[in-house]
Symmetry: C2
Subunit: 278 residues, 2 copies
DNA sequence: TTCCCGTGTATTGTCAGACAATATTGCTTT
DNA sequence: AAAGCAATATTGTCTGACAATACACGGGAA
């Protein structure tokens, strides 16, 4: 396999291959004309043919560049290589590059001006709560720190959200919550269970009656994704967790905000423990 | 002034004019060829000349389309007019349309596939905590509801964030907080004061030591923006608020999480009161 | 009939090349 | 030395073309 190949995989869907011709850090140009395509033995696919169906070029590019930025390859304030450069580096058209960059601008990772170029925005402007940015962010530092940060955030959000849900849920929303809780118990695989678990917590956020809480669901999804991937759990641990979930469900159903909040705190404490004893 | 002119003004910066040739709701096509440019009296600017320097075409377009989506013109699941259509409607190139759409896709307002078109994503996927989306969202329902939602969110976030800040702030971060607090007191105009106020709260979020809390600053900015615009405040009210801020500053400085949290709750209660007695 | 399969077609995806707008940089002129 | 002016590099915008895709429809076969 080609040494310089980099794999990108995130919420956009299918994995996407994208291979820089040569690694493009802050590099001074030295090309006299352009790398002359040179020898390409039959059977070896051309660089630009290295795309996988299911992910468009601009999307893959956005992932690649976005990941590099979040990872710290180009610190805030840095001027990125210009569009023509990216275009050449990845053997894609300038339009594709521009669309990728526009996506990153929409996430406030970048900004640009004519004659200047595109530069990395200061970190505090980054939209870290964006699905993709969060995914990139999750890969860069060690997972421990990331999980701890997310979990701390859950401690802030979920108890209150659940209390609101207990006060304002509709019957329909309650049905969703109850069903997810039931399906958690009946799940036969850990993956199935995790999915129901996620649905459970997202349903609570929706039932909270505050529109602004809903987008925070991406955090929960991300947390569970990591939890599912990097921890193993014993059977009686799962049983215990199930009981904690049922307590939450019950208190929302009976419309007891304080009890619901307390129940969530218990569940989170349990999750903390699972993480700690990883 | 042209009747169909729509004004777009949001975080992108300068206001941008963009005038659809004709209002483009779900419209059945009837054009035999294309509107033939027809009579355009001298002195009347052409439609595509209606741009204001400082806002690019794709950015303005993104604002216009994004606003329409959030406002509910195209409910979730709706297939949008295709790129060629937008291009014609606004007299811009297809590239510009595509870049605008890519930005909205990056905010999860849209998704698209070849042969299908672009459709509006379900509301719960929208990145409401994005600066621009929030700005669009703030315009659509009545402001009362919006302010109430944001304020409720602040009640969830800020007390805890401040408690963390009291525990983990660095001296440098403390200096920022203190300075903002001081400048609030010394401000001579309400606008100046509001800006310092905003800086104060943002500095606390940054000092909380949890990266994920920082992006929530956009909410505070948005809240203050609306508070500043739609409420008036008496002098002794401001004095009282200043004291509340100073209490927060002091408790963070003395590293008393619980007291800091309580102080923030007091301030928020005060703000609630200002809003209610609007 | 009913089901399967290919073929048509509308739409986004991608590419290439050109020119415009813009703000920095350095040079020239006073 | 200072101020204005020109050269220049980069994004912004437009045009036109073709590729990839997946739905819709019609035709053929069981």
């Amino acid at each position: 396999m080609h040494p310089n190949r980099s794999l990108v995989l995130d919420s956009f869907g299918k994995p996407a291959f994208l291979k820089p011709m040569r690694d493009a850090k802050p590099d001074k140009e030295e090309s006299p004309k352009k790398v002359a395509a040179a020898k390409r033995p039959d059977g070896v696919r051309r660089p630009d043919a290295a795309r996988i169906p299911g992910a468009s070029v601009h999307t893959s590019l956005a992932s690649e560049i976005g990941l590099r930025i979040v990872r710290g390859d180009y610190p805030p304030g840095t001027i990125l290589p210009n569009e023509a450069k990216w275009s050449e580096t990845f053997s894609v058209s300038r339009s594709a590059v521009r669309e990728a960059i526009k996506m990153l601008m929409a996430k406030s990772l970048l900004a640009s001006r004519p004659k200047i170029g595109s530069w990395v925005e200061p970190r505090e402007r980054w939209n870290l709560l964006d699905r993709d940015v969060l995914a990139w962010y999750a890969t860069s530092p060690d997972r421990e720190v990331f999980l701890k940060t997310v979990q701390e955030f859950r401690h802030i959000i979920e108890p209150e959200a659940t209390a609101f849900a207990a006060m304002r849920r509709t019957d329909e929303q309650m049905a969703e919550i109850s069903q997810a809780c039931r399906e958690m118990g009946e799940a036969t695989s850990l993956q199935e269970r995790t999915r129901a678990d996620t649905r459970f917590h997202l349903a609570i956020l929706r039932a909270s009656g505050n529109d602004l809480l809903v987008p925070l669901g991406v955090l929960i999804e991300s947390a569970f994704d990591h939890l599912f991937t990097y921890t193993t759990r014993a059977v009686d641990d799962l049983n215990h967790a199930q009981k904690l979930h049922e307590a939450i469900e019950k208190n929302i159903r009976l419309q007891r905000p304080d009890a619901a909040r307390a129940a969530v705190r218990k569940l989170l404490a349990n999750t903390d423990h699972v993480i700690k004893s990883r």
